[in-house]
C-alpha cells in the first residue's frame, strides 16, 4: 500500500494538469527505508510528448545525488497518461528501473475527475496496490514545503478542483 499526504497528491495532480496534454513526470523522495514520500520534486519531461516521458539526464543526476546526500530514496516515481487510463503501459513496464519505488500513475483524460493508481513494477511484473491518501492534520495553508524546485507563482493548487 502507498500512504501519501493529500497535499503531495494535489501537487502531483496540479503538475499533471499544468503539463496536459504532454505527459508530466516526477519523484517524491523520502527517508531511506521509511516507505514514506515526503518531498515532491516535479521533473522536466525531456521528451515533451503526449505519449512518452523521460527524465532529463542532467536533472536526473542532480536530483539522485541530492537524495543520496540527504539519505533519501525515490519512494514514488510518478507520471501522467493524458488520453488513456492510469495503468502501466508496456513501455512503462520495460523501462521500470527502480524496484523499490511505488509507480504512481495519474490520468488527465477527464478534465474534471482524477484517476490516481499505484503499482509495484519488479522484473516486468506489475502489481497494483491501494493508495491511502492521508488528510492533513494541520492547516494545509501552513504547509509550503512542496513548492521545492519551482517558482511559487506557477503552483496552482486550485487546478485539482478541490
Amino acid at each position: 500500500m502507498l500512504s501519501i499526504d493529500r497535499s503531495i497528491v494535489d501537487a502531483i495532480v496540479a503538475h499533471a494538469r499544468r503539463d496536459h496534454p504532454d505527459e508530466a513526470c516526477g519523484v517524491v523522495a523520502g527517508p531511506v527505508g521509511s516507505d514514506t514520500p515526503t518531498r515532491h520534486i516535479p521533473m522536466e519531461n525531456s521528451a515533451r510528448s503526449m505519449t512518452f516521458y523521460e527524465f532529463d539526464s542532467m536533472e536526473h543526476l542532480r536530483v539522485w545525488r541530492e537524495m543520496d546526500d540527504r539519505d533519501e530514496e525515490p519512494v514514488v516515481i510518478y507520471h501522467s497518461h493524458t488520453a488513456t487510463e492510469a495503468y502501466p503501459s508496456r513501455t512503462d513496464i520495460s523501462f521500470a528501473g527502480e524496484p523499490g519505488a511505488h509507480y504512481l500513475l495519474v490520468s488527465t483524460r477527464e478534465p474534471d475527475t482524477e484517476e490516481i493508481r499505484s503499482f509495484r513494477i519488479v522484473d516486468g511484473v506489475v502489481t497494483e496496490e491501494p493508495v491511502r491518501i492521508v488528510e492533513p492534520a494541520v492547516d494545509p495553508h501552513a504547509v509550503q514545503s512542496y513548492m521545492f524546485g519551482q517558482s511559487p507563482a506557477t503552483v496552482d493548487y486550485e487546478c485539482s478542483g478541490r
Binding site: 536526473h60 497518461h81 488520453a83 503501459s89
Partner: protein, 129 residues
C-alpha cells in the same frame, strides 16, 4: 588506477549488493570490461550486442553525461567517479499505438463495408435499368 563506480539498485545483484565498486580502464568501455571480469553480466546490462551504450541507461563521468564525452570511448582518469542510472522513462506510447492500430483496423473495416455497399447499390441500379 582506481575509478569509483556507483551502481544503481537494480544492478546491485551483480555486485553482491554493493552500492559502490572500484574498477580500472582508460576508457568507459575498458572500465566496463574490467568490471565485468569481477561482476559477470554487468556489462551486458549496459552495452548492446552491437557494442553501443544502451539508449535508456545514463552513465556519467563526474558531472558529465558520457553521451557528450564519446560514450564508451569517453576517457577516464584516476580518481574519476562514474555513476550509472537507469533512465526514468515510459509513457502511454504502448497503449496509444495499440489504440491507433485498432482504430485503423476499424476504419479499414468501415471503408470496405462502405465500398461493398456502394458496389451493391450501383449493381442494383444497373440491374433496375
Amino acid at each position: 588506477m582506481a575509478i569509483e563506480v556507483r551502481i544503481p539498485t537494480i544492478l546491485r545483484s551483480y555486485t553482491g549488493g554493493a552500492k559502490v565498486v572500484e574498477g580500472a580502464g582508460d576508457t568507459l568501455g575498458d572500465l566496463l570490461t574490467d568490471l565485468d571480469s569481477r561482476h559477470a553480466g554487468l556489462k551486458g546490462r549496459l552495452v548492446t550486442e552491437a557494442g553501443a551504450l544502451h539508449r535508456f541507461v545514463n552513465v556519467y563521468v563526474n558531472d558529465e553525461d558520457v553521451r557528450f564525452l564519446g560514450a564508451l570511448d569517453a576517457k577516464l582518469n584516476d580518481g574519476d567517479s562514474v555513476t550509472i542510472l537507469p533512465a526514468v522513462a515510459g509513457g502511454a506510447f504502448g497503449f496509444a499505438a495499440a489504440a491507433a492500430i485498432s482504430q485503423h483496423r476499424a476504419a479499414a473495416a468501415a471503408i470496405s463495408q462502405h465500398r461493398a455497399a456502394t458496389v451493391a447499390a450501383r449493381d442494383a441500379a444497373v440491374a433496375a435499368r
